[in-house]
């Protein structure tokens, strides 16, 4: 990039990819690079002070989702948490060879499941319907006597659709099968109280809730046995050895605190901004649709398809206006195939390639959303002018919009 990116000019709507570290989080982390540099395991005070802060961080993360501090294991992020949960459970119960998951998981779970398949495990990948929802009857029917673990995401990173993990976890409990949920997108965005739920393992990631990158956690309910996947020291009760990433842990603790404080704003103001943006774009732009059931969704995410245009082109045009978002098109996925989530939902290719994910955060403002509503429609109409599939008659299509 030749042009410097001036942060205040940028409208950042890609918060499901990563978030900006909150100023207070950054400040809480700083002393741990220099003054408070000790190893929490040390016997001297240099380590002792730090150990206390790590304990506090554990409590703060626990408080965000109704968990005991002892139930939190620090990891390097969401992907490691997913791996540790699934492989850790299988390793501790080697007799059982069946896994239940879904087609729309994050690669952290999906790739792990596919790898396990190649190692002799049976995996049931549950389908989703057009709105991205699971069929609970099919879920219940997929259990087998040798089912070792269920891993189902809480909120989908691309569409924001929420799975009924509360109900699903209860059923798994009845069947005595450990239930893991990848809650990387849910934690910090929707209220979670694990004390009232039957979820046994839960993955979260620091950088999705305005914390630093390179830190995550796995919640493991008391009494649930998992084996480590890394070998080393005694840290995290031997479940995840290695000297603690103290600055990031402290940052995640602070970020959890702030997420709890901002929870109401996220679910009211941010949700209204998201709805306003979504409604305006879909009503202004013909041949567009919201992907994913709008009934049960994260408050910050909107996945919209614009037919007959391609996502990467849309993103680059948006970039010219200094607006940041994501797309599920093939060109942006890093492979030649478009989003596995939208394909699993049976969205037609004409729509998938032109999908844009807007993911907001508490940092976004009314002004920003108004700017996008004003500028965005012409990006789509400009690209449609050069698209061989677009016909002017499509533009006269009248939408019944509620």
């Amino acid at each position: 990039m030749s042009r410097p990116i001036l942060e205040p000019c940028y409208i950042y709507l890609d918060n499901n990819a990563t978030t900006r570290v909150h100023k207070e989080v950054f400040e809480a982390m700083l002393p741990h690079f220099t003054r408070l540099f000790g190893n929490p395991s040390s016997m001297h005070l240099c380590g002792g002070v730090v150990a206390k802060q790590v304990r506090e961080a554990r409590e703060r993360i626990g408080a965000l989702m109704g968990a005991d501090p002892d139930e939190i294991i620090f990891t390097s992020g969401g992907t490691e948490s997913d791996n540790l949960a699934i492989r850790g459970i299988l390793e501790s119960n080697p007799a059982k060879k069946h896994i239940i998951t879904t087609r729309v998981e994050h690669p952290g779970v999906l790739s792990t499941a596919r790898w396990l398949e190649s190692r002799g495990y049976d995996v049931t990948f549950l389908d989703v319907d057009n709105g991205g929802n699971l069929n609970l009857e099919a879920y219940k029917a997929s259990f087998r006597p040798d089912t070792a673990v269920v891993s189902v995401m809480w909120a989908n990173n691309e569409t924001g659709v929420l799975f009924p993990v509360e109900e699903m976890a209860s059923y798994a409990r009845e069947r005595n099968v450990p239930f893991h949920t990848d809650a990387v997108q849910a934690v910090g965005k929707i209220p979670i109280n694990l004390k009232e739920l039957n979820i046994d393992l839960l993955s979260l990631s620091g950088h999705k809730l305005h914390g630093p990158k390179g830190i995550g956690a796995l919640y493991v309910r008391k009494g649930v046995r998992i084996s480590p996947i890394l070998l080393g020291g005694h840290q995290e009760h031997g479940k995840r050895p290695g000297t603690e990433n103290v600055p990031a842990i402290v940052g995640l603790g602070k970020a959890s605190d702030l997420a709890l404080k901002n929870m109401e704003d996220e679910n009211t103001r941010v949700k209204q901004l998201r709805d306003k943006l979504e409604n305006a774009l879909v009503s202004k732009i013909p041949r567009s649709q919201v992907n994913g059931s709008r009934r049960r969704r994260l408050p910050n995410t909107s996945n919209i398809s614009f037919e007959y245009v391609e996502g990467e082109a849309i993103l680059l045009m948006m970039n010219e206006l200094r607006i940041a978002a994501s797309s599920g098109s093939a060109c942006t996925s890093g492979s030649l195939e478009p989003s596995h989530v939208l394909r699993a939902m049976g969205i037609p290719f004409t729509m998938i390639h032109g999908s844009v994910r807007f993911s907001l955060s508490v940092d976004n403002t009314q002004q920003q959303i108004d700017f996008i509503i004003e500028k965005f429609p012409s990006i789509i109409s400009d690209l449609r002018k050069i698209s061989p599939f677009w016909k002017e008659s499509y533009g006269r299509h009248v939408k019944n919009f509620s």
Binding site: Y308, E310, E312, A313, M317, S329, I386, F389
Partner: protein, 284 residues
């Protein structure tokens, strides 16, 4: 984020020759919406088979749009015969290069042009694929795969996927792509070996040979010698005997036999394997 050249970015934001010629003399289409990119090319062609107007419409990413735009600029004013010689490499080069993963956009341009030329000759606007479909996900035939391997001198399956998309979906055809690739590479090495066998003198006139030798000396040999304070002059070429004088620090250097040997290797590599290098001083 893709690392696009300024040319690609410029043509994406300000594409040239966008549109569709209503009474076109030739129409060429390539790609499909399922594949994620598609191009429709329309041409006006005069009585001398010269392309007098070219317009495009493209569904696709920035590099697909830029490739289409540059293609229209490249073919305008050319005869059908001249345009037919354009390869995907020419398209990519005119854009100042494309990221390897985006080379398939240049291939799409070439395919649409081919389809348009065939359409002008009376065939349908969408190229009728000859050969066997290898990649079912993206509908790529062995003919296309072979051609792109040859024209771009590809070496790996990953490159074939980047250039044609073949193998980029379910991946079940990768084994077949490997076979095709191996066949093409074997052919390539065989042709190279056959070429080597031909005596250089028969393919080049003496003047051509001297010019090439001089060029290699200037480009690859002299700069190296100058680093050590030496220099070289070409004295004469007689058949396959090349006479040179080493000057400067090289003159009388005890390592000069080694230097002559190294020069000989360079000339064998770049000019002809038949050449012998001798110190010219002996002759004069």
């Amino acid at each position: 984020m893709w690392d696009y050249t300024d040319k690609v970015k410029d043509l994406f934001l300000n594409p040239k020759n966008v549109g569709e010629i209503e009474d076109a003399d030739a129409v060429g289409e390539a790609g499909s919406i399922a594949c994620g990119d598609a191009l429709k090319l329309t041409l006006k062609i005069d009585g001398n088979e010269r392309i007098t107007d070219a317009k495009f419409k493209t569904f696709g990413c920035a590099s697909a749009i830029a490739s289409s735009s540059i293609l229209t600029e490249m073919i305008l004013g050319k005869t059908i015969k001249e345009a037919a010689k354009i390869t995907n490499r020419d398209i990519a080069e005119n854009l100042g290069g494309l990221p390897e993963e985006k080379m398939h956009c240049s291939v799409m341009g070439m395919e649409a042009l081919e389809a348009a030329i065939e359409n002008f000759r009376g065939k349908p606007a969408t190229k009728v694929e000859t050969g066997e479909i290898i990649c079912k996900c993206f509908g790529v035939t062995d003919t296309t795969i072979r051609r792109v391997i040859r024209e771009n001198r590809l070496r790996t399956v990953e490159q074939v996927t980047n250039y044609t998309k073949a193998g980029g979906g379910c991946g079940t055809c990768i084994e077949n792509i490997e076979k095709i690739l191996k066949g093409e590479i074997d052919k390539r090495t065989k042709t190279a070996r056959d070429k080597e066998k031909q005596p250089a003198g028969r393919r080049m006139t003496n003047l051509q040979k001297i010019n090439i030798i001089q060029e290699v000396i200037n480009r690859d040999i002299r700069p190296q010698l100058q680093k050590d304070g030496g220099n070289i002059e070409l004295v004469d070429v007689d058949g396959n005997h090349v006479y040179v004088n080493l000057t400067g620090m090289c003159a009388g250097c005890i390592a000069s036999t080694m230097t002559i040997k190294w020069i000989q290797e360079k000339l064998k590599e770049f000019v002809s394997p038949e050449l012998d290098v001798l110190e010219g001083g002996d002759m004069i």
